[in-house]
Subunit: 341 residues, 2 copies
DNA sequence: CCCCGAGCCTACATCGTTGTAGAGGCTCGC
DNA sequence: GCGAGCCTCTACAACGATGTAGGCTCGGGG
């Protein structure tokens, strides 16, 4: 049986409340008393009972991170960063995988685990315009990604349009003209797919290049497999791009795999750029050029925003932070860039 | 303010305990009463307060999964599987990243979060022989991986020796004779590195091939980067293997990257096999042949074992489960195997 | 000399739930 | 028609911590 404050109090010859005060850093305690209590704690290997503290204070010290799935490297790396950032704030993270399924995404907002947590960092996929109202919840919430405009809550995101524009502009700068886009969600406007496509089209327009629907490869899920499939059907249809813009790295890597299977050389025949800068891209063959969306910064900012929200019960106006992006050049667009790995 | 059982009880005109009984499925309740309570719960949008329940029952419904880091795809995919399996048992998972650092690994066993959780699924890296005693903890614990022999606790693992022997035997069967091993931990016996090397050497011995130390590439951390480095220094030293056995997939992919940078063809010049069967391997170029260690099975078994342990306070003898492995053949060892992706 | 505030500590109620014990009423077999 | 046993429900005391309120001592200002 684990020791309780009662046991510590008895051993130190003080009241239970004094033990509580020592544990919580209450200043008005005689040094000798504090020492006696600390010794007793040590001797009994006492640790505060989280459940009891939670009940009394209404805080659990746990935050939830809801994301599609950890098997997707981007989200695994994001989770890694969030957990580290949370650790620094003394917070523990539980992960909820919703798999991009609308019903599970909604569950996250109302589910049982809400009572287990002080707040939520939420990266939805299926939710979109029209769901704003669902986000008006009575617990601290920080939104990741860019599914929803005019949202009533804290939000950390990146400028998808601008970053995608830069990616396409970069390919155009290399002299590429027939740029395939893999991972398109036809009709979508507000999600990452829609926004990145918008940026891409804007760059084409600036360069005076007419868009070509045959170069848009749809892929609902952004996995390697779907990227490969989308690439394959485009090639099977006789389309011959000289560059590929994967709307995320997994798609780009899948597409790259398919291109190489068919004997196309990268970057000579086809240049490939991705989005996310997952670790894996640096070790692909060739290394994958990509857009670094500032994942670290996003994770850290999100945790800090949530932490402040939790701290101050007062309803402040929602904040919106936009992370910086960078283009990371590797061998999939320019030969010879893989050396420093 | 969230509704409490008190509120529900009042609205339904019953005692608070009856509400509790309804919520917990106590059988002896008149159907009409149950309905009234359920209606009240619905009307008030009542959800049980987890903290209070935890305090009373001593259970939190949370388990911890301790692993090196989520950035390593193997562990991300493992975490995915564990979370799903836990969900089915009604358990929530928190993830603790210890980064393979001994001190943090020990923290996991005694840290504050112990009080937050009902049990721990523990995948250590730095712990090893001599640490058995530390595992004699007073909470449910299931060990993953094969760091420690004669352990006093539940353990889910795979037969590393046998699987590695099969991997090397497979390469030998292809006619390869100079097999480099990447990721060796010199002097280690009980960890994955040691065991897999043992299996490798056994296969060589069976085939009557003398081992060659020059073909052993050390790498402490099993990342893509360290795999590439180990491969590079071996090649720089003038060693020319005709096959590479990466002790995990990340190492193998790093090595593959380095080989290709130097213009070596895979599998013609060098065949490459990995270990773990991470998703990424299927989409490498060429696809990475690997050993599938039965990750799903491991995750599911571990959660179930932990769940039973939590359920029955009685100290049963520790169980040990060994998962099945399979060799997954792809293009990195045999051309033409990548078609079905 | 008394009062006041700062410093140090304690008693008590309380957070929201569940375990224990048992009060009634009913059915059933003899 | 009566006790045994089942069904249905309730009162009360925990679980282990923290918030509130207040007691006591001591030194210094009025």
């Amino acid at each position: 049986m684990a020791a309780t404050m009662q046991d510590v109090a008895q051993r130190a010859g003080v009241s239970i409340k004094t033990v509580s005060n020592v544990v919580n850093g209450y200043p008005y305690i005689r040094e000798s008393t504090r020492q006696r209590v600390l010794d007793a704690i040590q001797a009994l290997d006492y640790q505060v009972n989280a459940a009891a503290r939670n009940l009394r204070t209404g805080r659990t010290g746990i935050i939830a991170l809801a994301l599609p799935e950890l098997s997707l490297p981007y989200f695994a790396e994001l989770a890694d960063a969030v957990i580290e950032a949370a650790d620094e704030q003394g917070l523990t993270v539980i992960i909820e995988q919703h798999g991009g399924r609308r019903e599970r995404e909604l569950d996250v907002l109302s589910g049982v685990r809400r009572h287990l947590t002080d707040g939520l960092i939420y990266s939805p996929l299926a939710l979109g315009e029209g769901d704003e109202a669902r986000l008006e919840v009575d617990f601290p919430l920080v939104l990741l990604g860019e599914r929803i405009f005019h949202d009533p809550v804290d939000h950390v995101t990146m400028d998808n349009v601008e970053a995608a524009r830069a990616a396409t502009a970069y390919l155009l700068g290399l002299g590429r003209r027939r740029i395939a886009v893999i991972g398109v969600h036809p009709g979508e406007v507000v999600g990452s797919a829609g926004l990145r496509l918008t940026g891409h089209l804007a760059a084409l327009a600036e360069a005076g290049i007419p868009p070509d629907d045959a170069l848009l490869g749809p892929a609902g899920l952004w996995h390697r497999a779907t990227g490969a499939e989308a690439m394959a059907s485009m090639l099977d249809a006789g389309v011959r791009p000289d560059a590929v813009f994967g709307l995320n790295d997994a798609l780009a890597l899948g597409a790259m795999h398919e291109l190489q299977l068919r004997g196309l050389r990268i970057p000579e025949d086809v240049a490939v750029i991705g989005f996310d800068d997952i670790d894996e891209g640096a070790y692909a063959n060739p290394g994958l050029t990509t857009v670094d969306p500032g994942r670290e910064q996003i994770a850290r900012t999100a945790v800090e925003m949530l932490s402040t929200r939790i701290g101050s019960r007062g309803a402040t106006a929602p904040h919106r932070v936009v992370a910086d992006y960078t283009i990371v050049v590797r061998g999939s667009t320019e030969p010879g860039h893989d050396r420093p790995a």
